[in-house]
């Protein structure tokens, strides 16, 4: 019920934001002027900027640019949330595959939770597919500036020599096909592993199914490594087509991975509080929190590595990325470092805190919000520039995808046995006990 309500509220909000976006250049001019007359410093800055332009051709171009950015706003709001939720579902799937490949014992009782979360991959992939098609084939939006007409045509005034140099990779058909292929590969593995994980429960075939799942997961991890990097170039780095960073794929991975672990912890804590996960104890929560802590540090490391090299070398075509973010997105840009690094470090460094669900939830909310801001700051500068804000469009997009998430995840969880009884490591997972903590409601003398 809650999930459907969120979907409806979110969809209404998204519809409203699309409706209120300007339809023509004249409208966008009016809206900017309107803002300026209201004394909005942001709008007036732009108005004077446009007035100071020297020739009328430049003026018209600027107006068109601003118009496109304003049209992009509801799309971008949807896109940030979509990438965030799609990415989290994908990374939960990858983390799950890594647990199978490592044949790890501790996490087996969480397998059905992770599988349930990956169910969210299906609806988000479908929406992503629509966005891909609407950007490349239908030209409904201008999220990717390099898809504008004439970018690859030397005789056109839109010609962009830098992007043209990358045309072997950055071309519309290639981009579209790649996007569809990524989504297909991920969903195929998810469909296969979910089916066979349930088959494991009743297989009773000397772990033959288990081994088959192991091999499938090995293959998927290789595929995932490649497609995740390419996905981040195509879908996020391509928004700033002149700029590139060789560790961008890792950076996106780190951000999504820490969010994915946080989401696993949230769903686990919720389901456990409802009594749906009798074998999950405080040590499992403790381990998830350790991952949240560790990958927060990992994210910071990559974020800083990317920043410091570009800052040090000081090459203009590289620094534009951070100049745009530092000038126009200073507040979210700096806030996210505090939310994603300082706060989790201080809150989750204590061993005892990591096994207390309340601390994990407080830390997790800040981590998730911080990484949403991270994606906001990755995507928005390339699509709406200085016209960013956080309003109905952004909020309703988040609600919409939370609604889909809740619906997909919990209906999927209800469809399978919450305990993967066929897994050979189930007993190890049920008896998992980190020696340094005491489980809630258990005798302190009951070790091992």
């Amino acid at each position: 019920m809650l999930s459907l309500a969120l979907i409806i509220i979110g969809a209404l909000g998204i519809g409203f934001s699309f409706f209120s976006a300007p339809k023509t250049i004249e409208e966008s001019k009016e809206m900017i002027a309107d803002q300026a007359s209201h004394g909005d410093s942001h709008g007036s800055e732009h108005a004077t900027g446009a007035a100071n332009s020297h020739d009328s051709q430049h003026d018209a171009k600027h107006d068109e640019h601003v118009f496109h950015q304003m049209q992009n706003k509801p799309w971008s709001a949807l896109y940030v949330s979509l990438i965030f939720f799609l990415g989290i579902s994908l990374l939960v799937l990858a983390f799950y595959a890594s647990q199978r490949v490592a044949q790890s014992g501790w996490s087996v009782v969480l397998f059905r939770v992770m599988e349930a979360i990956t169910a969210n991959l299906i609806p988000t992939s479908i929406i992503m597919l629509l966005v891909i098609l609407s950007a490349s084939v239908l030209h409904w939006n201008h999220l990717f500036s390099w898809m504008a007409e004439g970018t690859f045509d030397p005789s056109s005034e839109n010609y962009d020599a830098i992007v043209d140099g990358k045309s072997w990779w950055m071309n519309v058909p290639g981009w579209t096909i790649r996007g569809i292929v990524y989504l297909l590969l991920w969903n195929t593995y998810r469909w296969f592993i979910r089916k066979n994980s349930i088959a494991e429960d009743t297989a009773n075939d000397y772990n033959k199914t288990y081994k088959k799942n192991y091999h499938a997961s090995v293959i998927f991890l290789v595929v995932f490594m490649l497609t995740e990097s390419m996905m981040s170039w195509d879908w996020i780095m391509g928004l700033d087509p002149h700029w590139f960073s060789t560790l961008f794929g890792w950076y996106v991975l780190a951000s999504l991975l820490v969010s994915a672990l946080t989401v696993i912890a949230f769903v686990t804590i919720y389901l456990r509080s409802k009594g749906a996960l009798p074998s999950v104890n405080d040590s499992h929560i403790h381990d998830l929190a350790k991952f949240m802590f560790g990958f927060s540090v990992f994210w910071t490391y990559l974020w800083f590595s990317q920043f410091m090299l570009i800052w040090y070398a000081d090459i203009p075509e590289e620094t534009t990325y951070f100049v745009a973010r530092f000038n126009e997105y200073k507040m979210p840009f700096l806030a996210m470092v505090v939310m994603n690094f300082v706060f989790p470090i201080l809150l989750l460094i204590n061993s005892d805190f990591k096994s207390k669900p309340w601390f994990v939830i407080i830390g997790g909310i800040v981590i998730l919000a911080g990484h949403y801001v991270d994606f906001f700051v990755m995507i928005m500068p390339g699509t709406v520039g200085s016209l960013w804000s956080f309003g109905i469009a952004e909020l309703s997009s988040i609600l919409f995808f939370i609604g889909i998430f809740i619906f997909a995840v919990f209906s999927s969880f209800a469809k399978a046995n919450p305990i993967p009884t066929g897994n050979p490591f189930l007993k190890e997972s049920e008896n998992f006990h980190y020696f340094n903590i005491e489980h809630e409601g258990e005798e302190s003398t009951d070790h091992h």
Binding site: M308, Y312, T445, H447
Partner: protein
């Protein structure tokens, strides 16, 4: 009182040892020391030892290392011999801070790690070339040894330890 007399109980399994420690503690005997070939998780708690405070010292050493790194980079690169860092000759520590982050990180780790080891040595009263204190060389191989002071209760202790699964029980004079 035979105060210099101790009883040595040998075990060949860490789980058996852990249960034995709990039994002895439950019978209100003071365990002088346990010698192990490897760290046994949960043994400190079972023996009733106070929690280690090395984490607190590690934090303080880390802060010290961070401060030294800030002072050092400022003195070397800004004050004593001003450097043009990355084509940005601002000669301000704060504006060049990103370049110093790796140094700050490394010195924090360096100070915390080395001073923690030295603290551990001092606290455990061991130092290079010190003669080994373990009463039986088998505790460095495959045996665990529990040492308990004898206070005219040799028989009672021996009986108790024999029940806990000790593979060998010796009463020795401690020098």
């Amino acid at each position: 009182m035979g105060s210099s007399k101790v009883i040595h109980a040998f075990y060949n399994d860490d789980e058996v040892l852990l249960d034995a420690v709990k039994t002895v503690k439950a019978a209100h005997h003071h365990i002088e020391e346990v010698f192990c070939p490897f760290p046994v998780h949960g043994l400190d708690k079972a023996m009733g030892l106070a929690p280690t405070r090395i984490a607190i010292t590690a934090f303080m050493y880390g802060i010290t290392g961070l401060s030294v790194a800030i002072w050092m980079t400022n003195y070397m690169m800004i004050q004593d011999w001003p450097q043009d860092i990355g084509g940005k000759p601002s000669f301000s520590w704060l504006e060049n801070m990103p370049a110093f982050v790796p140094i700050m990180f490394e010195l924090t780790v360096f100070f915390a790690a080395h001073l923690m080891v030295i603290t551990f040595y001092m606290r455990s009263k061991i130092w290079p070339f010190k003669k080994a204190e373990n009463p039986d060389p088998r505790t460095t191989d495959d045996h665990f040894l529990m040492e308990i002071h004898v206070h005219n209760n040799e028989e009672e202790l021996t009986a108790l330890l024999a029940k806990t699964g000790a593979v060998e029980i010796n009463v020795v004079e401690k020098h």
